[in-house]
Amino acid sequence: MAGEKPEHVRSTELGKPVTMLEAIREALWEEMERDPAVFLIGEDIGDYGGAFKVTEGFIDHYGPKRVIDTPISEAGFTGAAAGAAHMGMRPVVEMQFMDFVSCAYEPLTNYIATSRWRGSGPVPMVVRGPVGGGVRGGPFHSQNPEMAFFHTPGLKIVYPCTARDAKGLLKAAIRDDDPVLYFEHKKLYRAPFLREVLEPDSEPIPLGRARTHREGKDLTIVTYGMMVHESAKAAEQLAQESGLDVEILDLRTLLPLDEDAVIESVKKTNRVLLVHEDTRTGGIAGELAMRISEKAFEWLDAPILRVTAIDTPVPYSPPLEDYYLPQVADIVAAAKYLAKY
């Protein structure tokens, strides 16, 4: 089969750097090659190759039984994926935009998340798709829906921000026996600065473990997704401007949360800033603050603070969206405030 492998999923094999999108595509391809139980289901993923062309060419190789174009019915095909998973399959569901996963909220949180616990067996399936703002997509093509699901025991939530993580974590998600929501920041899909040379035949990266994106000793930033990169920019600026040595923890998996990694870093730096692209009230910063309070209160030299989007839908017009999104300057300001505290 390797011989037939089309060019656009062979970059890693050929030693070429891949974008995050290509890393995702390769992970899907390699998992489908490895395990006949893996199949894809979603809207326009076949001939069209998906709205972002993630699955381009897959239907030619794997055929319409393993690359299923569906009617517009997010609840229907997500529920169907669960049925297939019951029968031993490993479906990978594509949401054209993750904003539409709201249509599948009912099957995901009630049926799928609870199946194992109800004695109906594990539901190995992945629901993946593009999330996030900054692309002028407006309120219904820019959402970060992690908090719709973060509250549901039984689900896992993965949100990578590098090509390596995207590939390794998607492989792990597909092989995982529990249902996994896998979020792909659309602004990172083809971001040139994320191009990376990966090792061929790479192993999955275990879910549930945060990654230290930058080591530091003065302050911890806990974040994920696009904000890892914005935080990194802020960290550079802080190093130059104030000699501050910032540690950045990329959560990567939001559920289950790598509490140990967070606590450990906070105990080291004694100051913590939580950053997310998602809106403020009810964002994941709350749960992090709670856990830090529970386990590391004594180590805190300053309040736990957060930098987030404002509490509105995602606006469409550039000046509004830029105001909505947390900016590097916000992270810098918050970090300086904390450092001086």
């Binding site: 569906t70 095909f77 019951h86 009912e106 009630n110 609870t114 616990w117 109800r118 109906s120």
Partner: protein, 355 residues
């Protein structure tokens, strides 16, 4: 595309004595298990509600009897609705497990976590529903799509009430199966009510099977209180699905005699309606028919009745003696390989840092 033949009175004559016995056994078993449950309910031994299928047993039994029933995970697969206890039993579910479920016992198939017929056995081919109506149509569409994908000659069959047929899940799930030409059979069990809501407030259509052309699928309907008609209709649809000709939508006309649940006073039911449907009782009707036709004798039926009574009574004893679950068991199996966290406040020294 719609077969309007309805309930053929000839149906049944092709069945062997063994088959007739099997059918009667399951009709009687369903009714007896529910009767025992009613007694347990009155003794406050059932936790929560009791949902009966009295008067609808012919649907549950007749539809499931049309399937390939296996116990090794290679047969057809069903997802029962709340009034398909008879189908579950037909697929091989054990009465003792049903009773344990209703009494929330620790050794029930869901370890006391879930209720009544909400339980699964993939070997015997049934998948436990959840309360949210409609979702099982979506799930079963995926089961059917898998059979098609793997080229297995198996069928996914499920039921929906006249009420649940209004859900978006019904539409999305069934349309997906239809367009995929997956081997899926959906039976709309029109028992005239959804909780207290009459069918006239659920749809403006003359029938539910009138939806079949809108999905481009095979459609059929029949008298749901005639087990022979139900079986014949379902067999045809299952054959249609199994042979790769796609999904089927069936409607059965029946009646929900005991209300939504045991606590339902049924005050909304017009006078006379219950009596009318009691006169059409599917078990009585089966009995009259087999005796009239000379297919079985009253003595044959009595023997089965006795057997069923004994079996269910034994099951009841075992289930009653079953233990309740241990509290901490609630924590297990949320994810594979890891349990949920215990409440830190219940540690010997409550300190969240140690939890």
């Amino acid at each position: 595309m719609i077969n309007t033949a309805g309930s053929a009175t000839a149906a049944g004559s092709e069945l062997s004595r063994d088959e007739l016995t099997e059918l009667y056994y399951h009709l009687r078993l369903t009714r007896e298990v529910e009767q025992v449950l009613t007694n347990l309910y009155r003794q406050n031994k059932v936790i929560g509600g009791l949902y009966r299928s009295l008067g609808q047993e012919a649907v549950a039994v007749g539809t499931a009897y049309a399937l390939r029933r296996r116990d090794d995970g290679t047969g057809d697969v069903i997802a029962p609705a709340i009034r398909n206890l008879g189908s579950l039993l037909m697929m091989g579910a054990r009465p003792v497990d049903v009773l344990r479920q209703y009494m929330a016992k620790g050794d029930s198939p869901t370890w006391g976590r879930e209720q009544n017929v909400h339980f699964t056995d993939y070997d015997r081919g049934f998948i436990g529903l959840i309360s949210h109506l409609g979702i099982m149509i979506e799930v079963m569409a995926g089961v059917a799509i898998t059979f098609k994908l793997r080229e297995e000659e198996r069928v996914a069959l499920t039921w929906t009430g006249d009420g649940a047929a209004s859900t978006g899940a019904f539409h999305e799930g069934f349309n997906l199966a239809a367009v995929q030409r997956a081997p899926m059979v959906v039976i709309i069990e029109n028992n005239r009510y959804a909780y207290s809501t009459p069918v006239s407030k659920q749809t403006a259509a003359a029938s539910f099977v009138a939806r079949a052309p809108g999905y481009g699928v095979y459609g059929d309907s029949c008298d749901g209180n005639d087990v022979f008609a139900v079986l014949e209709m379902t067999r045809k649809a299952v054959e249609h699905a199994r042979s790769g000709r796609g999904a089927a939508l069936l409607e059965v006309h029946t009646y929900r005699r005991k209300g939504h649940a045991e606590h339902d006073s049924q005050q909304y039911v017009p006078p006379g309606e219950l009596e009318e449907w009691e006169a059409r009782d599917p078990v009585d009707r089966f009995m009259r028919r087999v005796i009239d036709e000379g297919w079985l004798t009253q003595a044959d039926l009595d023997t089965i009745d006795d057997q069923v009574t004994k079996e269910v009574d034994a099951a009841r004893e075992t289930a009653e003696a079953s233990p309740m679950p241990e509290a901490e068991e609630a924590l297990a199996e949320v994810y594979g390989g890891s349990a949920a966290r215990r409440p830190w406040t219940r540690l010997a020294t409550p300190d969240p840092r140690e939890a």
